[in-house]
C-alpha cells in the first residue's frame, strides 16, 4: 500500500520541480487575473464611450428632423448609425436604439414593427419601465448600467434650453463576457504550458542539484564505514555552492586517506619497534641465566673430579634452563593465541575455572566464579580463555598463599565484560603505567610477559582493559570486548 507521506519527507527531486511549477503557475495565474480585470474595465469603458459617441452623433444628426417630426429622416439616421457598415446590416453589438419625444412617444425605433411610430413606448416589464422613466428624466448625457448584459447611453436632444427628445442607445456587454472567456482560455492554456515547462525545467535543475548531493551522501556513507581510501571522487560540474561542497568533501577524503596511510605506516613502525624491544628483552632475559650457566660449566670443566661442585652447580644450570624454557613457552602461547580465530559460546570460559582451581592447589585462597554468559554469546574462545587465565594467574601471584579471588563475566549491553579481582598487595602507582610493558615484572621468578600478552590479545579483539588498584587492598582488572557477534534468537526484531 502506498502511504501518503508529509511533503517534508519528500525527495528534493520531487520538491524542487513542484515548487518551481507551483510558483510559475501562481505567477501566471495572478498576472492573468490582473490582465482580465484590467481588460474588463477597459472594455466596459470603451463600450460606454461608444454608446455615448453614437448617441451624441445620432442626437446631433437627428436633432432638426426630430424637431419637425421628420420620422423617416430620424429613422434613417438611426439605421445608418447603428449599421455595421454603410448600408450594411445592423451591428449585432447594438441591442436597441430609439429616439423618443419627452413624453416617451416613439419618434424612431430600430424595431419599428414592435414599437410603432407616435405611440408611447411599451414597457415589457417593471425594470424596463424604471429604466425608461430614468432615461426620460435625464437632462444631460449619461450612461445607465442595465446590469443584465447591457450598457445604455442616454443623450437628450436639445435646442437651446428645451429638450425635445432623447436618444437611447443600448449596447450589449456580451463582448466583455466573450473577451473574458477567450482571455481566460488563453491564460489557462498559457499557465498549463508554463506548468509543463516549469516542471520539466524543475526536473532538470533538481536532477542537476540532487545528483551530486546523492553522490556526496553515498561517499559520506563510505567514509562512515571507514573505507576512506576507496571513496570515488565526486564529479564536479559547475562553479556553484554544491560544487564547492563537493570540492571540499573531496579534499577532506583525500586528506583522510593520506592520514590513514600515515597511521598505517606509523603502526607498522610501532610494531617493528615493539618487536625490537621484545627481541632485546628476550636476548637480555636469556643472556642472564646463560652467563651464570656458562660460569658453572667452566668451573665444572676445571674441576671434573670435584663431585661436590657438580652437586652444587647442576641444579643451578637446570634452574637457568627452566627459566629460558618458560620465557620461550610464554612467547609461543602469545604467538599461537594471536592468530587463533575459533569461536565458541560463553560457557567455554568454564574450562579456565578448573585450571585456576588446580593452580591454587592447597593454598588458602577462596575462589569465587561467576559466568553469566550464555551460549548465545559468541566468543573468540582461545583468546578470551587466555585473557581470563592470565588475569587470574596474576591475581594468584598477587595474593601469595592466602586471600580472596573472584572472576565475573557478564553482558553490558552488547559488550562482554570480564573482571578478575583480588584483595592482594595492590600495585604501586608508579608501576601502573608500565604494567602492560613486556618483561616488566616485580617478582624475581616472573617473565613480565603475562599482562603484556593479555593486553595484546584484548587489543586484537578491539577491546579495552582497565585496572583499579589500591595498595594493601587489592586490584580489579576489567576487560570490555565490544561488537561481539550475537547468535540469532527466535524473537528477532528490527
Amino acid at each position: 500500500m502506498i502511504r501518503f507521506r508529509h511533503p517534508r519527507h519528500w525527495s528534493l527531486l520531487a520538491k524542487l520541480p513542484l515548487t518551481i511549477t507551483a510558483v510559475t503557475a501562481a505567477v501566471a495565474f495572478t498576472i492573468g487575473i490582473a490582465i482580465i480585470t484590467q481588460e474588463r474595465s477597459r472594455l466596459e469603458a470603451s463600450i460606454e464611450e461608444r454608446a455615448l459617441v453614437l448617441g451624441r452623433a445620432i442626437a446631433a444628426t437627428a436633432s432638426e428632423a426630430a424637431a419637425s417630426n421628420d420620422y423617416w429622416a430620424v429613422y434613417k439616421t438611426l439605421r445608418q448609425m447603428t449599421a455595421r457598415s454603410a448600408g450594411g446590416a445592423r451591428d449585432a453589438r447594438i441591442l436597441t436604439a430609439m429616439v423618443l419625444d419627452p413624453d416617451g412617444r416613439v419618434i424612431a425605433h430600430l424595431d419599428p414593427g414592435i414599437h410603432p411610430l407616435g405611440r408611447r413606448i411599451s414597457e415589457q416589464n417593471p425594470a424596463e419601465g424604471a429604466l425608461l422613466r430614468r432615461a426620460l428624466e435625464m437632462r444631460t448625457t449619461s450612461v445607465i448600467h442595465g446590469g443584465a448584459g447591457f450598457i445604455e447611453g442616454v443623450v437628450p436632444i436639445r435646442s437651446g434650453e428645451s429638450i425635445h427628445g432623447i436618444v437611447r442607445l443600448r449596447l450589449s456587454t456580451d463582448e466583455i463576457r466573450a473577451q473574458t472567456r477567450s482571455a481566460t482560455i488563453t491564460i489557462l492554456s498559457l499557465t498549463f504550458v508554463l506548468v509543463i515547462l516549469g516542471s520539466g525545467l524543475g526536473a532538470i535543475i533538481s536532477n542537476r542539484l540532487v545528483r551530486p548531493v546523492h553522490a556526496l551522501a553515498a561517499a559520506m556513507d563510505t567514509v562512515g564505514r571507514g573505507e576512506v581510501g576507496t571513496v570515488p571522487a565526486v564529479a564536479e560540474h559547475t562553479d556553484d555552492e554544491i560544487d564547492h561542497l563537493v570540492g571540499a568533501f573531496n579534499r577532506m577524503t583525500q586528506e583522510l586517506s593520506e592520514k590513514q596511510k600515515l597511521e598505517q605506516q606509523l603502526a607498522v613502525s610501532e610494531k617493528l619497534v615493539a618487536l625490537g624491544r621484545i627481541a632485546a628483552g628476550v636476548a637480555h632475559e636469556v643472556n642472564n641465566p646463560l652467563a651464570g650457566m656458562l660460569n658453572c660449566i667452566d668451573t665444572l670443566k676445571a674441576h671434573p673430579e670435584d663431585t661436590n661442585l657438580a652437586a652444587r652447580y647442576l641444579p643451578l644450570i637446570e634452574k637457568g634452563l627452566n627459566r629460558i624454557s618458560t620465557i620461550v613457552q610464554a612467547l609461543l602461547v602469545e604467538l599461537r593465541a594471536e592468530g587463533a580465530e575459533q569461536f565458541a559460546g560463553g560457557q567455554c570460559l568454564d574450562d579456565v575455572r578448573e585450571l585456576i582451581l588446580a593452580e591454587i592447589g592447597d593454598r588458602k585462597i577462596s575462589f569465587e566464579w561467576e559466568n553469566r554468559l550464555g551460549d548465545d554469546v559468541r566468543l573468540n574462545s582461545q583468546k578470551v580463555q587466555q585473557v581470563a587465565l592470565n588475569l587470574l594467574r596474576n591475581g594468584i601471584q598477587a595474593l601469595g598463599n592466602a586471600g580472596d579471588l573472584a572472576f565475573r563475566a557478564y553482558l553490558d549491553g552488547d559488550a562482554v565484560i570480564i573482571e578478575a579481582e583480588d584483595n592482594g598487595s595492590g600495585i604501586p602507582e608508579e608501576n601502573l603505567s608500565r604494567l602492560f610493558d613486556p618483561f616488566f615484572t616485580t617478582r624475581s621468578s616472573g617473565t613480565g610477559l603475562g599482562l603484556w600478552i593479555t593486553y595484546r590479545l584484548v587489543e586484537s579483539m578491539s577491546g579495552t582493559i582497565e585496572v583499579q588498584s589500591e595498595i594493601e587492598k587489592g586490584s580489579l582488572f576489567r576487560v570490555r570486548l565490544p561488537g561481539l557477534k550475537i547468535a540469532p534468537k527466535e524473537d528477532w526484531e528490527i
Binding site: 417630426n69 421628420d70 420620422y71 423617416w72 429613422y75 434613417k76 424612431a108 419599428p112 414593427g113 410603432p116 411610430l117 407616435g118
Partner: protein, 291 residues
Amino acid sequence: MTPRPRVLALLVVAFFFALPARAAEPAPVRFGLTAVVVRENVPFYQAWSRYLAQKVGRPVQFVQRRSYREVMELLETGQVDFAWICGYPYVRHSDQGFFDLLALPEFEGAPLYRSYTIVHRDSPLEGLADLEDRTFAFSDPDSNSGYLVPRSLVLKLGKNPDAFFRLTFFTYSHAETIEAVAEKVAEGGAVDSYVWEYLARTQPQLTKRTKVISRSELFGFPPIVALRHGNRDLNRRMAEAIIKMNEDAEGRRLLRDLALDRFSPPDPKVFDGIRRNAENMKARMIAIPRP
C-alpha cells in the same frame, strides 16, 4: 541668368495653350432632378449626361434636390435649364408660364402611370379604408402618385385626408417609401407604379417585402420641362436628343436602364386627370370645416 527667359517662354506657351481650351469649354447645361423618380445612380447619370452633352454640344450637369419644391424654385429662378418634374407641380405651375413641356417618358406603351397603395407583405390590411388611424408614408408633398392620389382617394371615402391617418411622414423618394413600408416604419404607403415595377425588376428583395393592395387610375407620367425663357435653340436640340434616344444604341441602352420605352413629344392632355384631382382637392379642402 539663362533660366529666367526660359521660364517666361514656358509661361507664354502655357498661356496660349490654355486659352483656347478654356474658350472651347462652354457653360454647362443644368438639368434639375429629384430622387423621387430614380434613386441616386451616379454611373447612370454620368452616362446620360455624356450622351446628352454629345447631342446638344454642351456639357450637361445634373442638379439633384431633395424635393420637387426645391427643383421648381430652381426652374422658376432660372438656375436650371431643364427639369424632370412631377405631373402635380406641372399642373399647379403650368399657367405661370415659366416652363414648357419638353418630352413625356413612355412606360409600358404610353406616357401614363398609376399610384400604388402598398402595405407590408405580412399585413392583414386589404384596402386604403383599412389604413384609417394608421401610419402612412408619402413620398413628396408635390408628388401626384405619392401624395395627391392617396389623399384624393381618402376624400372619395368621405374622410378628411388630414385626419384619416394617425401619423404621416414624407420620404422624398418612392424607393424609400417602399423601404419604409418594408421595414414596418409605416403601415402603408403610396408609390409611383413605375418606380415599384422598376424596383420589382432590379431589387426584388425590397419589393417582395411589400404588397400592392390598390391601384389607381392612370395619370400623366412625370414630364421633362424646359425653361421657357431659355435658349430656344438649346431647347430644340435637347428635345430632339431626348425624343430620339430610342434611335441609337447608346440611347436605347440608357432607356433600358430607366425601364422606359422612349420619350415622346409633349401632349398636355395626359395631365387632365391630375388637374381634375388637384382642383377637386383644393375645393373640397377649403370646404372642410375647421375647429
